[in-house]
């Protein structure tokens, strides 16, 4: 399973792309998707919503079950991936690109230091 080197990760299986301007894109990892299976529904937050790090902020559902997605960093939602409304399985086919979930404007840029590197996330997920 792919865990790209250029992204950062949260232990709750989100990936984070730091755009370097105080905003990040967030999605879920191939590791999480392997467990979930093909998504049939994605519930995204409203733009403008504020979350603290660790808050449940979205829901992804496969045939089997519903799972929460957690805000990996504190901030305000500035964009969501509307394409997922009609095509939730885009998250499975392109988890690190077209399958992104939402963008955050960070409330506290120092929290970025809490994120995991690709190798640390691989180790946590039991991949060597």
């Amino acid at each position: 399973m792919e865990v790209p080197e250029n992204l950062q990760y949260a232990a709750s299986h989100e990936w984070i792309a730091d755009h370097g301007d105080g905003t990040v894109s967030v999605g879920i990892t191939a590791v999480a998707l392997d467990q979930l299976g093909e998504l049939v529904y994605v519930e995204l937050p409203e733009p403008g919503a504020q979350f603290k790090r660790g808050d449940a902020c979205a829901v992804v559902e496969s045939t089997k079950a519903a799972s929460d997605v957690y805000a990996p960093l504190s901030g305000e939602v500035i964009a969501v991936n509307g394409a997922l409304t009609d095509a939730p399985a885009l998250v499975n086919t392109a988890p690190y690109s077209e399958g992104w979930l939402f963008k955050l404007k960070l409330a506290n840029a120092e929290e970025v230091a809490t994120l995991l590197t690709a190798s640390a996330y691989r180790a946590l997920a039991g991949m060597s």
């Binding site: 299976g37 093909e38 049939v40 529904y41 519930e43 829901v59 559902e61 496969s62 045939t63 089997k64 079950a65 519903a66 409304t85």
Partner: protein, 358 residues
Amino acid sequence: MSEALQRTPLHALHLELGARMVPFANYEMPLQYADGLKAEHLWTRAHAGLFDVSHMGQLRVRGADLHATLERALPVDFAGWTTGKQKYSLLLNDRGGIDDDLMVTRLEGEVAIVVNAACKAQDLARLRALCPDLEFSVLDHALIALQGPRAKEVLAAAADLKFMQARSVNLVGTECCVTRSGYTGEDGFEISVPASHAVALARAWLAHPAVKPVGLGARDTLRLEAALPLYGQDLDADSSPREAGLAWAIARTRRAGSAQAGGFPGAAFIERFRKRLVGLLGEGPVPVRRGAQLLDAAGAIVGEVTSGTVSPTLGKPIMLAYVDAGVADHASLNAVVRQQPVPVRIVSLPFVPKRYQR
């Protein structure tokens, strides 16, 4: 999985096939294989799926006055029940609630009963208490289901059977008890095979291009599309046969008004009707899961979802739910999902037509 879970005779084969194993009813069972739930589900509807259901309890009953004695425990009538015929039945408690649902087959000199995995010990104890003079044994055979429109091509040796018929068939050099039945809504078979020959039989079928292994995940979505209720979710000790839509599973001659009415546990309560099991279709894309409450137009709670998924065949949310007895057919309701109302509608069952070979 820290407790010692039981394993079926096909356990090593599941691992070899890349199954994701999960604890289920005290067994370590395959949830899905490499293809995943949706692909396995659709494969079964189009071709043939091989399911390991060896966790289910396979009972054999013998003894003097076998049929008359079993009729004291179960709402069945063996008069006119030919050897080799299988019927669906219920083990009821004294309040007329459903303690388990069963597949009962009349065999030569004995009766076979397949019970739910989680109910095995309880059913056996209860049946023994109700029929102390009969001899109950647990068969340690594997049970393999072969389900789908191409199952009859794979098991051509049993293609003469009709739906809910059983007979002995020699497969991979051993006698197997084959029934034409299953839990997917498709045509297919369930094969009780001695544990020693189970792997050889499964491998022989998996070598056929129409057959792929299918896990418990797809078994659940297949049965839900066919509106086959699941014990422990849609059926329970507090629901009567009529409430569960299973009044037909009580032999006609054992129902009120007939000469042989009653005489089995809970007989006085089988017509109890406070609620009813219905099918619901989601109007939008939001999946509704087990436990979601159902509200009527006025916002009053009128029911609860007992099983729910997104149908792989229809691409829409489907549910089974108990609603108050007074809720109308085709009523529009709201399911509560994450504190939000989600429109759903009562529909006729099944969600996907059954294709039994009658």
